[in-house]
Amino acid sequence: MNIPSKILSFRKDKASDLRQFGDLMDKYIGSNISSKISIAQTQLSNENFIPDYVDSKGEIIKGNSNYWGYSVNDIELSIETLKHIKPKGFDNATIYLDINLVSDYREWDKINDPFCELSFKVRIKGINNDNKSGIHYFGFHLDRHHESKESNEIHPRYHFQYLQNPFELDENNFDFGSTLHIDTPRIMHYPMDLILGLDFLISNFMPSKYNNLINDRLYVKLIENYQLKIWKPYAHSLANHWSFISNQIQWKSKLLCPTLQ
C-alpha cells in the first residue's frame, strides 16, 4: 500500500512516542504493558496497515491512507487500590484494557475531534477468597458515539458507560447480585488514546505507581503533548459555547482535572 511519506513519518512519530511510553511502563510498572503497547507501535510503523474507517453513512472505507490508528487487546494492569473493593475479601484484581482507535491525519492539528472512532474498553476481574460466589466482574467503556448511529437516548460524542458484565458472559446465567444494570447515564468525558488512557487507569488504580511516574520529566512531557492534541480541542470547543474573557477566569484547571500536565 502506498502511504504518503509525510503521513508515514507522522505515524512513525506516534510509534516512537508509544515506544518511549512503553519504556516508562517497563521502568515504573513492569508486567507486560510495554509488550502490548509494542503491538500498536508495529501497526503504526507498518506501511501495509491502514485501519478501516466507517463514514457518516455507516459505510466501511478501506485503504484510505489519511486514516491511522491501532487496535490492541488485553493490556493487563494489577489493581493497587484493593482496600476499596466491596464486597470484602479480594487480595488480587486485574484490569484488562482493549483499545481500538482510528484518527484522520488531516484533523490532528486542528481544533476539532481528534478521532473518528474510539472504543476504550476496561474489564476488571477479581477473585474473592472469602466468598463462595467467587469471581466478580466490573467494567466501563469510553465510546465515541458514531455519526452513523441513531438513537433516541442522549449520547455525548465521547461518553463513559459502566458494565456489570464486561466479559459478556451468558446473561441468563450471569449473577447480577443485588445490583441493577442500566445503560445510562452516558457520562460525558474527554477522549483518550492509549497514552492518556493508561494515564487515566494508572492514576485511578495504581496511585503509588502514578506518583512515581509524574516525577519523571519524560512522562510528564508525553502526557502534556497528548493532552494538548486531544483534550485542548475538546475543552476549547466546550468552553466556546459561551463567550468568555480568559483573564477573568479564577477557577484553577488542575482542581477540575488533577491529571492535567
Binding site: 509494542s38 508495529t42 477473585i127 467467587g134
Partner: protein, 372 residues
C-alpha cells in the same frame, strides 16, 4: 544426517560416567565419546586440542562437567565455565564453526555452583543432571536437535526467518524482531541462545503443550489421545517449526488464540473452560476432550497458565508468581504456582518457590482459609 558425535569432558571417569555414556550410545540417537582429559590438563592444551579436533570435524558438540576442578582423577585447575567462555569467544571470531556446549553435573553441584553463579547461565545451550538413570531418550532428542540446529545456523545466512518460518510477526513485541537487525552483528551462538533460553524456556511468544491445553480449558492427561488429535490436526499451524523444532515441541501463543477464534468465532480468554471445550467439541467433533477443573482452593476456570508444581491449569489471577533466577523480558509471561502447591511445598526440591513479592498475598489467603 550422520549420527552427531559429542565429546564428553569430565575430570571423573568412573563407572557412573561410563554408564551415562553407554546409555546414550545404546540408544543410538547420538554418539558420545569420553574425552581423555588426563592428557590435556593445562587450559591452553585443552583449548588447542578442541580447536584442532573441531577443525577436523572430529566432533559436533561437547558435553562438559561443571566442576572439572573437582575430586576426579583427571582434575584440572579450571572449571567448565572458563573453558566454555574461551570456546565461545573463538567461535564468535569465526576461527572454528560454532557448536553446542551442554553442561552436565550432579544436582548438588549444579545447586552449589551453577545456581549461584548466574553469569555462567548464558554460556551453555542446555544442562542435564548426572543421575543413576538419566532420561537419555529426552536428552538425546535435545542434543541431536542442537547439533542439527547449529549445522543449519552455520550454513544458512542468519535471518529471523530461521526462527519464525513465515509466522506473522506483526503481533509480536518489536523488541523480539529488532534484536535480529543486521547491524547487531549476531553470531550463530546468539541465535541458538535466544531460541533455547529466551523462547523455549519461557512463556510467550511460545507455549509448551500444557500451556496450550490450559488455555483451551482442557485436562491434557484425562483427554488422552484426543488431546493429541486436537493438537496435531487443528492446531498444527500454530506449531513452532523454526531452528531446533525437532528437539522442543512448542506452539505460538497468538496463533493458538487466532485458530480458536477462526474455529468458533469467540475470544478464548473470555470464556470459562467448559465453554471453551464445548465449543471445541462442537466445531471439531473430537468428543473425548475433557474439561480441566480448578486445583484445590482455586475457583476460576478462566485458565491461562499452569501451576508449575502440579502442571495443572490455573487462572493467573489466583496464582502466585514464581521466583526466577533470570529477569524476565517485558514480552515474557511470568510462571505461576497455585496456593495449594505452595502450602504443600510441592516442587520445592526443584527450586519452585513463590516470588518474595507474593508473601503478603499468600498470608492473606492463608488467613482467609483458616477463618472458614
Amino acid at each position: 544426517m550422520n549420527k552427531p558425535k559429542y565429546l564428553y569432558i569430565d575430570d571423573e571417569n568412573g563407572a557412573s560416567e561410563k554408564s551415562t555414556i553407554n546409555l546414550f550410545n545404546d540408544l543410538g540417537i547420538i554418539e558420545v565419546e569420553l574425552f581423555n582429559l588426563s592428557e590435556f590438563r593445562e587450559f591452553g592444551k585443552l583449548r588447542n586440542e578442541l580447536i584442532q579436533r573441531r577443525k577436523n570435524n572430529a566432533f559436533d558438540g561437547v558435553i562438559i562437567d561443571l566442576r572439572l576442578d573437582g575430586d576426579g582423577a583427571d582434575r584440572v585447575d579450571f572449571n567448565a565455565t572458563s573453558i566454555t567462555q574461551e570456546l565461545r569467544s573463538i567461535t564468535a571470531r569465526g576461527e572454528i564453526k560454532s557448536f553446542p556446549i551442554v553442561l552436565c553435573s550432579t544436582e548438588e553441584k549444579i545447586k552449589n555452583t551453577y545456581d549461584t553463579d548466574k553469569s555462567s547461565h548464558d554460556l551453555f545451550d542446555y544442562k542435564f543432571e548426572k543421575s543413576i538413570n538419566p532420561d537419555s531418550k529426552k536428552f538425546s532428542k535435545k542434543l541431536f536437535s542442537l547439533v542439527k540446529g547449529y549445522d543449519l545456523l552455520n550454513s544458512e545466512k542468519l535471518t529471523p526467518d530461521t526462527i519464525f518460518r513465515g509466522i506473522d510477526t506483526n503481533s509480536f513485541d518489536q523488541r523480539i524482531i529488532e534484536r535480529f537487525d543486521e547491524s547487531n552483528n549476531l553470531v550463530v551462538y546468539d541465535y541458538a541462545h535466544f531460541v533455547v533460553k529466551n523462547l523455549f524456556h519461557n512463556t510467550n511468544p511460545l507455549l509448551k503443550d500444557r500451556l496450550v491445553a490450559a488455555r483451551l480449558g482442557i485436562d491434557k492427561d484425562a483427554s488422552g489421545k484426543n488431546w493429541f488429535t486436537l493438537l496435531e490436526n487443528i492446531f498444527i499451524p500454530a506449531k513452532y517449526s523454526g531452528v531446533f523444532a525437532d528437539g522442543w515441541d512448542r506452539w505460538w501463543a497468538d496463533s493458538v488464540v487466532n485458530i480458536f477464534k477462526e474455529l468458533t468465532g469467540k475470544r478464548l480468554s473470555f470464556l470459562k473452560a467448559e465453554e471453551r471445550v464445548n465449543l471445541l467439541i462442537k466445531m471439531t467433533g473430537i468428543t473425548g476432550l475433557v474439561t480441566a477443573t480448578p486445583i484445590k482452593h482455586c475457583q476460576s476456570t478462566e485458565f491461562w497458565t499452569i501451576c508449575e508444581a502440579y502442571k495443572k491449569p490455573l487462572d493467573p489471577l489466583e496464582g502466585f508468581k514464581i521466583f526466577s533466577t533470570t529477569e524476565l523480558k517485558p514480552w515474557q509471561e511470568s510462571k505461576y504456582l497455585s496456593f495449594d502447591a505452595i502450602v504443600e511445598r510441592v516442587g520445592i526440591e526443584k527450586g519452585l518457590r513463590p516470588n518474595p513479592t507474593e508473601k503478603d498475598r499468600i498470608e492473606s489467603v492463608k488467613q482467609t482459609l483458616e477463618k472458614k
